[in-house]
């Protein structure tokens, strides 16, 4: 090992996890964590939750404090981006002009925001929500706006809509698909979430496309839908999704397929380059195909796996995927991946304050979505991990003890 050590490209949840785990495992070499954004690494989920609502300040948003990185001898490079990588020379180049050697490189570049390409999209008052700077911009726009239009009915759009509605704005959410959370939740859950928002006064325009963002003097004043309807607003929040950030990986010829391809140890097609988090795609033993996840669970746990691999530890990455979203006081939690399921049963009452949806594919339990039922969510994770599938009738019966379906 030379003095170059491990260089981690990207200081989000995956990058920090790799650095932290390496030190916990007593990695003896240098660790460098590079991030394009200013300041210390921070947590992303609160940006659309506690931070947006003004409940948390910047200090509370941090992942770890400055002392932590000092004590653990983790070198931080902030406000600088990697612009090129030379895999044969084991060096990378920063925007500031500096170059840096590495023995092992970890790609933790996260996601690129999908931008809306329609007329007016660059007007003032049109905001996205992926990083702290954008959250700050949204917070300041919220103070003066009375009406908001949210584009996109995924998690970011919905959490944003909740924060805007709670702040007293009139909120209309426009979604291209006729259902919310189209690719990521079952209908009973999507409908429950929709009703909860409607109770707060949020108006939905589902199955509608946006034609144009209306502005005057480059300041947003509303949107026009493809059907001609005009919605007036002083603020437009866009949350139409993200894509894995594979730009640098592709530029050096690493294998990518809508994500940097990694094996079950987190290694890319180059033996000295590993990857973790939102930027990856990998085969998951539970789902038997190459999956891509956008979640804290995956960023943190795949980061741990990468650290273990760097330490020469055996083992594969097979953690059960899980995800959460907070909207108003409601907690939505998803264990597993529901995509492609052919049967769903409801445990509890889908019109009540709490219930879970058990999703099966060919009689095998593949996912459980819970509303306000955290203990059921925890059990679901244990069931999925154990590969246990309670018969659908049992799962739907609230009297049935789910624990008894676990292998003893």
């Amino acid at each position: 090992m030379s003095e170059a050590g491990v260089v981690i490209l990207g200081n989000g949840h995956a990058g920090v996890s790799v650095a932290e785990q390496l030190r916990r495992k007593k990695y003896p070499g240098a660790i460098t964590l590079i991030g394009a954004e200013a300041g210390l690494p921070y947590q992303r989920p609160p940006l659309s939750k506690q931070y947006l609502k003004g409940e948390w300040d910047e200090a509370r948003l941090l992942q770890r404090n400055a002392e932590f990185y000092r004590n653990n001898d983790i070198r931080l490079i902030a406000s600088d981006s990697v612009i090129s990588i030379d895999p044969s020379a084991h060096r990378l180049e920063l925007k500031s002009g500096a170059t840096l050697p590495w023995d092992k490189l970890v790609l933790a570049t996260g996601s690129c925001l999908q931008k809306l390409e329609i007329p007016g999209a660059d007007a003032e008052g049109v905001v996205y929500l992926q990083n702290r700077e954008q959250a700050d911009a949204l917070k300041s726009e919220m103070r003066s706006a009375r009406r908001a239009v949210v584009i996109g009915g995924g998690y970011i759009g919905l959490e944003g809509a909740a924060a805007l509605a709670l702040a007293g704005l009139d909120v209309t959410l426009v979604n291209r698909s006729s259902e919310l959370l189209a690719r990521s939740a079952s209908l009973p859950v999507a409908h429950w979430i929709q009703r909860r928002h409607e109770k707060q006064g949020v108006v939905f325009k589902l199955g509608e496309q946006l034609a144009e963002i209306l502005s005057a003097d480059n300041r947003v004043r509303g949107v026009r839908l493809a059907n001609g309807e005009v919605l007036e607003a002083e603020l437009v929040l866009i949350g139409i999704g993200v894509k894995p950030d594979t730009g640098l990986a592709e530029s050096i010829g690493l294998e990518c397929a809508d994500g940097v391809l990694v094996d079950q140890k987190g290694v890319t097609s180059h033996p000295d380059i590993l990857a973790a988090g939102d930027c990856t795609r990998f085969n998951h033993p539970l789902y038997g195909e190459a999956i891509h996840l956008e979640s804290i669970q995956n960023a943190v746990e795949q980061g741990k796996r990468v650290a273990a691999t760097l330490m020469g530890e055996e083992g594969t990455y097979d953690a059960v995927p899980w995800f959460w979203s907070d909207q108003y006081e409601a907690k939505l939690q998803i264990a597993g991946i529901a995509q492609g399921h052919d049967l769903e049963v409801i445990r509890g009452d889908e019109h009540a304050e709490r219930f879970s949806v058990f999703c099966y594919a060919q009689r095998r339990l593949v996912a459980v979505e819970s509303i306000n039922a955290p203990a059921e969510h925890m059990l679901a994770r244990q069931l999925l991990k154990a590969g246990a599938s309670p018969p659908p009738d049992d799962a739907a019966n609230p009297e049935f003890n789910l624990r008894s379906a676990l292998p003893s």
Binding site: P46, Q63, N65, K331, P374, M378
Partner: protein, 107 residues
């Protein structure tokens, strides 16, 4: 700032100063205290921030809610009378000097 003492699984004591209003979990997490995972970032949905609270202080804590109670049953380590989820406990001045024991495992 309130001074707290976390006992890590190894037995090592970590003194941490944290602002009032933050949760015990956040105080531990930002300082990288070993033995607290906090996978869900404090939304009371993972039970990986389980701790044992100093008996002398247990009466100064707000009673636990039903979610916390349910989640504690899902914690990886043994649940005891002084078990709590550290993300559900807001730090108050009265906690000065409190000792918080982390369990052997969270996962």
């Amino acid at each position: 700032m309130v001074n707290l003492i976390f006992v890590e699984p190894s037995g090592a004591e970590r003194e941490v100063a944290a602002p009032e209003g933050w949760s015990l979990m956040e105080a531990a997490f930002q300082n990288g205290v070993d033995g607290i995972e906090a996978e869900c970032g404090g939304s009371c949905t993972c039970a990986t921030c389980h701790v044992y609270i100093d008996e002398k202080f247990i009466d100064r804590l707000e009673p636990m809610g039903s979610n916390e109670d349910e989640m504690l049953d899902c914690a990886a380590a043994e649940r005891r009378d002084n078990s709590r989820l550290s993300c559900q406990i807001e730090i108050k001045v009265e906690f000065e000097g409190m000792v918080i024991q982390t369990p052997d495992t969270q996962i």
